[in-house]
């Protein structure tokens, strides 16, 4: 059995799964239930100055019959009295000494305000503090949340105020609403942050109602951008996580990263771990299905680790970071072509139309005699199941013309039906940066490019 325990900036947790600071961590009673369900930790719903919330605060993106691929919210930080939150945090930590109890906070950008809240949080016995520099709506209008996270100087300054008094670990939670995530991360580390977490929610307008022409959700006729989270944001979160892990300053700082953004399954979780996270936070998936989802996250991750021979979270943390590279270092001579398994193929022709309309026109439809036929070539006078099935042509890739773009592979609805097969290109390995170094004219002159291609046998269709 794999050991799922983590020690994150000194904070111990029986497993890496924490509830993110959000509605699932709004109160002590809720988190009691969550811990009973198995969550290793919880980041308390952000506490800070008084706020008032609105109704219709969540919108969602549904697609193709799948509910809530993403949620969008204009919820503020906790609207419960500060005292009440602090009291419940204290009780919670006492009841659950083995779980990670972290408190998210956000106050006015004044040193005294931050000093006060830090002391109040420490008095509860909580294990750590998470600085919310991410809330992209409402709080930012009041100069907090992403208004801080988007300006590296503020980020650094406030972190240093906190660090000046904090005795427990300080995690800085980054906003993704920024051009380069590395810059605020470095700023936080310069100020002494003990750990980073990302991502908070992404600016978004989720929909417009086509009956009323109002935004969705409509708050008494008005709407605005809200924070976007859930499965749809996972690729964005993974990219930002990898950017931190690959950055020489952040990567070599040794400061742990708590990853979040779209984690719904143990598979998602494993990907975050492989790209450098060592604790994982979850919000939307829990809001969709309840606390019980942690059971399979733990079970699935543990079974996968066993099957791969990984003994602890630290065996996988960042293991795929070495694979993160840049285009200029990719091997231009690596060649793969699409191959269709005719046994599996159900002849939906989705690969055919994708390749022919929008890729490289290298999938043919072949009749049973191997002759190329056009789509819609059947006679309108013939019909019926037998006729349609028996006369249906088979899509086949002309491998010589396939550029290996992998579009067909992505659209094919059948598992393992299209395979991208590596084939020898007959050329020596070379990267773009090497080409530029050795043949710098190719970057500006099409004639030079042609000469280079001819010399190396690179054909473009």
């Amino acid at each position: 059995m794999a050991d799922l325990r983590i020690k994150f900036a000194g904070i111990e947790s029986p497993n890496p799964f924490w509830l993110a600071s959000a509605p699932p961590t709004n109160s002590g009673a809720q988190i009691h239930k969550a811990f009973e369900a198995g969550w290793g930790g919880a980041v308390w719903k952000t506490i800070g100055p008084p706020v008032l919330n609105v109704s219709n605060r969540y919108g969602a993106w549904h697609y193709g019959g799948q509910k809530m691929l993403a949620i969008n919210n204009v919820e503020l930080i906790s609207d419960r009295p500060l005292e009440k939150n602090l009291r419940e945090i204290r009780d919670l930590k006492r009841a659950w000494p083995d779980r990670a109890v972290i408190v998210s906070a956000m106050v006015e950008s004044k040193p005294e305000a931050w000093h006060t809240i830090v002391r109040q949080i420490e008095d509860t016995g909580a294990d750590g503090i998470e600085l919310n520099y991410g809330c992209p709506h409402g709080m930012s209008e009041r100069g907090m949340g992403s208004a801080v996270g988007q300006v590296p100087e503020y980020c650094e300054q406030i972190t240093s105020w906190v660090k000046a008094v904090a005795k427990i670990p300080v995690i800085v939670k980054l906003t993704p609403n920024i051009t380069n995530i590395v810059v605020p991360a470095q700023a936080a580390l310069r100020a002494g942050a003990d750990a980073l977490s990302l991502i908070n929610t992404i600016n978004s307008i989720v929909a417009v109602d086509l009956d009323t022409l109002e935004l969705v959700p409509s708050i008494g006729g008005k709407g605005g951008h809200g924070g976007y989270a859930g499965p749809a944001v996972k690729p964005i979160a993974l990219n930002m996580l990898a950017a931190l892990g690959s950055d020489s300053v952040v990567g070599s700082s040794g400061k742990p990263i708590s990853g979040m953004g779209g984690i719904s399954t143990w598979q998602d979780a494993a990907e975050f771990l492989l790209l450098g996270a060592s604790s994982l936070q979850v919000c939307t998936a829990a809001m969709h299905y309840g606390y019980r989802i942690v059971e399979d996250m733990i079970d699935g991750l543990s079974n996968w680790m066993d099957s791969k021979g990984f003994a602890s979270i630290y065996d996988i943390r960042g293991k795929s970071l070495q694979r993160v590279s840049e285009f200029q270092h990719f091997d231009l001579s690596f060649k793969a072509v699409a191959r269709i398994d005719q046994e599996r193929c159900i002849k939906c022709n989705l690969c055919y139309v994708a390749c022919n309309d929008t890729a490289h026109q290298c999938i043919d439809l072949l009749d049973s005699g191997g002759k190329v036929v056009a789509p819609y070539a059947w006679a309108v006078t013939l019909n019926g199941k037998q006729e349609a099935i028996s006369s249906r042509p088979q899509p086949v890739v002309r491998e010589h013309d396939c550029v290996g773009c992998r579009l067909c592979y992505n659209v094919c609805p059948v598992e393992k039906c299209i395979e991208m097969v590596e084939v020898p290109s007959g050329r020596e390995s070379v990267t773009w940066s090497e080409v530029v170094r050795d043949h710098c004219a190719v970057t500006e002159d099409w004639e030079a490019m042609k000469t280079y291609r001819d010399a190396h046998g690179i054909e473009i269709h």
Binding site: G64, G65, I346, K347, C348, N349, L350, Y352, V353, P375, Y376, W378, V380, T381, L382, N383, G384, K385, E387, A388, I389, S391, R392, P413
Partner: protein, 419 residues
Amino acid sequence: MKIAEELPPLSSHEAVVEANRCLFCYDAPCAQACPTHIDIPRFIKKISTANLTGSARTIFDSNLLGATCARVCPVQELCEGACVLGAEHKPIAIGRLQRYAMDYAAAKAMLPFRPGPARGSRVAVIGAGPAGLSCAGELARRGHAVTVFEKRALGGGLSTYGIIALREPVEVALAEVRMIERLGVEVKTGVEVGREILTAGFDAIFVSTGLGATPLLGIPGEEWIADGLDYISRSKLHPDELEPGRNVLVIGAGNTAIDCATIAKRLGSERVTMVYRRTEKEMTAYEHEYSFVKNEGVGFEFLAQPVRVIVAAGEVTALECLRTELTPHPVPVPGSEFLLPADQIIKAVGQERPSLASVLGLSTERGLIAVDKNLETNIPGVFAGGDCIRIKGAASTVMAVQDGKLAAAAIHEKVTAHG
């Protein structure tokens, strides 16, 4: 007792979930398998985007009688049978999705298209069944003035009189007739062409008279046997007049016979048995129909040839049969007489050939009207389609609709080429 439609309509949630399951195949096999070649992925996609107007128009574009077809088509043999999801999963419920879009069109009293500007041409259609209505509507689309002559009191052909209410309520068929009328087509009912002579002045004629009544078995006591087609039409239009027998025999094993047996069961007959000269293997009914009726609790008497109706005190008491042997033709075994007790006997052994052919002087093949690939008969300007030309393959509504559509295109070509 009025028999209700068997399948409920899909709820909008069910429809969208099912529509989203469709892969949106390119050059989809379901559309090839559909005799009218409805662009199925296109209409289904439109259901998933809540564009029901567009979905219905897509169906009408290929098939004006989409509401009937959605209910009566043997989809297992056609579109759904060819669905790429059929092999490993459940095929898409194309018929029910089509009905969903067609119900929307009916509720909105949608017209499939605006009739084309009048060209001054006139076309007569004989028979207001699916073939005739489809042809009439397609001609109206192209601006021809169409008059449909129908001998019965109501239009719709077998959709109104023959297809059991379990599958299609009469109202659906009649609403389609009204829709065709709203396209500017004149439907004259109660006019039997042949008896009443067609007035001249038509640029073309489309013969879509379907088939005739159930043929005679030629056995003693046949006058005591109910005609299956008549039995079904009464079950649809005058259900209260039907007195269900307690012990019913249905002679025949085609789809009509199965329908009669189903109706008898639904009307409350205790025992229903189908009597057939051959065996299960030779049955012409669709596989899914056969298993449906078995589930309804209908029994079978195979290898039995009716020879006489036994009547006592003015009531049917039994059907006398001979055992048959397959050679492979069924041959009665002499001396093998046996009695099947019954208080009601229904025959459903096919339909007679169209009689109008000889009246009009049309050449025939095996009793059916012979046409060329444009559905034109030996008399120039006279076209035919539907069951009355179905020499090959199973007669079905959707094939009749396609004939009507193809004939309209051919008639249009011909009429406009002359003009």
